[in-house]
């Protein structure tokens, strides 16, 4: 018996309804059962569907649930699609989502009321529902519904501690910045419809691939608009500003939404539309450049941050840049592979940072940490594994996916982008090991009470850490480079059906195979860079207590201040957009509303009052006056009707 695809998103939706409606009354045990149980069931449902599918041919399966909108030539169904791409996303969204839900039991249990606990799990469930809708959608419109749904849940969960001003502000910021991207995405969907007359993925992509010369001219604009949406959701420069602030939410939220799943939706969307993008080389180039710039830009900022979650947030932005760099050079498989491995190790890192914060009673500043390795053994080991995976140390997962991206960039002969990618790899290793050194090595820099308070997290928190660390170790073997054999890159073979051949006349398909010697060389270089960054960070921060770094910062105070302030992008936006809009709003309020609209109303009322004041003296209250007036009126009427009428 096969499970209907609709069941997979429906289960978290049911969990959401149970948690939000009954949760506050029935207490934490019920919420745990409903919220975590529904996601667990969804994971089981997804995998019972996926395992037979993996053995099959990879033909897309479309399941139509109901007709949705039908107006003239425009018709959209509520239909879900299982193909290798959505299957890959569903597999880790459900699984990593489930692990993070389990982790949340331990993380959220202590400090929240029943209502807050229920709200947390309700939003997390709603998020998974929206994310699965996004991933499984068979047309652009349903994808957009999921897209907006995850944005809403992101807003709700960033502002989870809504009584704190900065959390509420961060939520609003995420929402508004995402809106800019969504605006582009929506326009892109309109453009797709006007170009192809349908929004179904199959229809659009087969038509585009069948007549490339006809559609290619319009596709550059379409792809740039779609990519604007991806930039907002996946926090690419210049729309990256919301993601670091999103760390105001609880740590499991950062792990689930702002590292593992939602932020990769942009990469997923671009990969989903790869047929369109490959027909628009200029748009591809923009994708690659934005990705590369974001990767290096965020990595530089990450070096100077002192908040443990903020370092990880900028690291996420940087890695998302990597994924877009891969998409931009046509290495979609490498991009999706990095999405998958990144979900494992970044979720592990965030959950590990949550365990550290939990152990220190809410401390997030790495300057007041240190020496935690012997006190938090499980957290330390898993964090270290995930760090090495992210840094690209073989044979951990990140090495293979990052190497696939770098190889892809190298193969299309873009030396500057390749250099940026390699430089970022070194920076990544450096800032991650700086983080590990500051957090886990050296002397404790906490207050004595905090040192005594430090304790390893409960099993519900450490178990997901161990599982994710294990996946970070072995996940890379899904996509071994081609030098290990023809069939070694299983993920590429798996994803091949969603990357149909597209031929744009006068332009060769990018991404031809490299000779094995070059591949070995590339691997060697990327490992050398990663190890170099790692050792430098270890030497500076673990052995010499950060003194060389402080000396370096002191010799370039202006540059250092700029990096610490995240290149003052927020300040720039405040000057360019926020303050003019505040001024405009104030003007609309004080001048248009108070002066003009209220003024017209008040003037009208005043005029009526003045007239009434003058006329009220006619009302004497004396009946005989009224009678006389009445008589005069009758006489006047008679005169008008008969007197003048007769004349």
């Amino acid at each position: 018996m096969t499970v209907a695809l609709g069941i997979i998103p429906a289960l978290p939706l049911a969990g959401f309804l149970l948690c939000i409606l009954l949760g506050p009354r029935l207490g934490k045990s019920f919420v745990t059962a409903a919220g975590v149980g529904s996601v667990g069931l969804a994971t089981v449902a997804a995998w019972t569907r996926l395992i037979p599918y993996l053995a099959g041919t990879g033909m897309p399966v479309v399941e139509r649930i109901a007709p949705w909108i039908s107006a003239g030539s425009f018709s959209v169904d509520l239909s879900l699609r299982l193909d290798p791409l959505s299957g890959l996303m569903v597999s880790f969204v459900t699984f990593v989502g489930f692990l993070i839900h389990v982790y949340s039991i331990g993380y959220m249990r202590h400090d929240e009321t029943d209502a807050g606990y229920a709200r947390f799990f309700a939003y997390m469930n709603l998020f998974l529902f929206a994310m699965l809708t996004l991933v499984l959608a068979n047309n652009f419109l349903l994808m957009f519904v999921g897209w907006e749904g995850v944005g809403l849940c992101s807003y709700l969960l960033i502002g989870y501690y809504y009584e704190k001003d900065f959390a509420a502000a961060a939520g609003k910021k995420a929402f508004v910045v995402n809106r800019i991207g969504d605006f582009g995405f929506l326009l892109g969907i309109f453009a797709v419809f006007s170009l192809f007359g349908t929004l179904d993925f199959d229809g659009v992509f087969t038509r585009a691939a069948a007549e490339p010369t006809r559609f290619a001219p319009g596709l550059t604009v379409v792809c740039l608009l779609l990519f604007l949406g991806a930039m907002g959701k996946s926090a690419q420069v210049p729309l990256h500003v919301w993601l670091p602030d999103a760390m105001a939410g609880p740590t499991p939220v950062s792990a689930l939404i702002h590292a593992a799943t939602m932020v990769t939706a942009g990469v997923y969307m671009v990969t989903r539309c790869n047929v369109l993008f490959r027909l628009a080389p200029q748009a591809m180039f923009v994708v690659a450049v934005i990705g590369g710039v974001t990767a290096v830009f965020a990595a530089i900022i990450a070096i100077a941050q002192t908040d443990i979650k903020r370092v990880l947030a900028y690291s996420t932005v940087s890695q998302l840049g990597y994924m877009f760099l891969a998409c931009g050079v046509g290495a979609y498989v490498a991009g999706m592979f990095h999405v998958l491995t990144h979900a494992f190790f970044k979720a592990c890192l965030f959950l590990g940072s949550g365990a550290v914060i939990h152990a220190l009673g809410g401390e997030q500043d790495v300057r007041r940490m240190g020496g935690l390795a012997p006190r938090l053994p499980v957290t330390y080991r898993t964090f270290l594994v995930a760090t090495l995976a992210l840094s690209g140390i073989p044979p951990l997962a990140g090495f293979f996916s990052k190497d696939a991206i770098l190889t892809g960039v190298f193969a299309v002969h873009r030396p500057i982008l390749f250099a940026i990618g390699l430089f970022t790899a070194g920076l990544t290793a450096f800032y991650m090991f700086r983080l590990v050194s500051l957090t886990f090595y050296g002397e404790p820099r906490m207050t004595p009470e905090q040192v005594n308070h430090v304790h390893e997290a409960p099993p519900t928190m450490t178990l997901p850490l161990v599982v994710l660390a294990f996946l970070s170790m072995v996940g890379g073997f899904l996509g071994l480079p081609e030098v290990f054999g023809e069939r070694a890159n299983r993920i590429a073979a798996f994803l091949a059906p969603v990357l149909p051949p597209v031929f744009l006349p006068g332009r060769a398909e990018a991404g031809h195979a490299l000779p094995p010697s070059t591949e070995w060389l590339l691997m060697g270089v990327s490992v050398a860079v990663a190890v170099g960054g790692l050792l430098l960070a270890w030497k500076w921060y673990a052995k010499e207590g950060g003194r060389p770094a402080a000396k370096l910062a002191a010799s370039f105070p202006a540059v250092y201040a700029l990096v610490v302030d995240k290149f003052r992008i927020d300040e720039l936006y405040a000057v360019l957009f926020v303050r003019p809009f505040e001024w405009l709003a104030r003007m609309l309020w004080k001048v248009v509303d108070v002066l003009l609209i209220d003024g017209v109303l008040n003037a009208g009322a005043f005029l009526v009052e003045l007239t009434g004041d003058a006329l009220r003296f006619l009302q004497t209250g004396n009946v005989r006056n009224y009678a006389l007036t009445f008589l005069l009126g009758v006489v006047a009427l008679v005169l008008i009707v008969f007197g003048f009428g007769g004349m």
Partner: protein, 104 residues
């Protein structure tokens, strides 16, 4: 035109005279009951006009209307007198010059 021996013009003159008497009374009297009686006078002047025309035109409809008006006048008199009684109980007067609460 002749109505039962009396010319229509005479009937109209009589009813006009009655109406003006009633009108002057209604405007000049201060006693509410007197005003009320004056108004009755005006109404009956109107009735007389209708009757005069009904006879002159040999049409019974006018007479029917007058019956109706008389019946309504009876009801109206009952209501009006009730108002005056209530008014007197409150204000101890039925002088309309002193009953002028309904003003600014």
């Amino acid at each position: 035109m002749i109505t039962g021996g009396i010319p229509l013009s005479d009937v109209l003159l009589a009813s006009g005279a009655l109406f003006v008497i009633g009108l002057v009374g209604a405007l000049l009297r201060r006693n509410a009951i007197s005003i009320f009686l004056s108004i009755e006078l005006m109404m009956n002047a109107a009735n007389l006009t209708v009757l005069g025309y009904a006879a002159a035109l040999h049409n019974l409809e006018g007479q029917v209307v007058v019956f109706l008006v008389i019946a309504i006048a009876a009801a109206e008199a009952a209501v009006g007198l009730a108002i005056f009684v209530a008014l007197f109980q409150h204000t101890e007067t039925i002088d309309v010059n002193r009953i002028n609460l309904l003003k600014w």
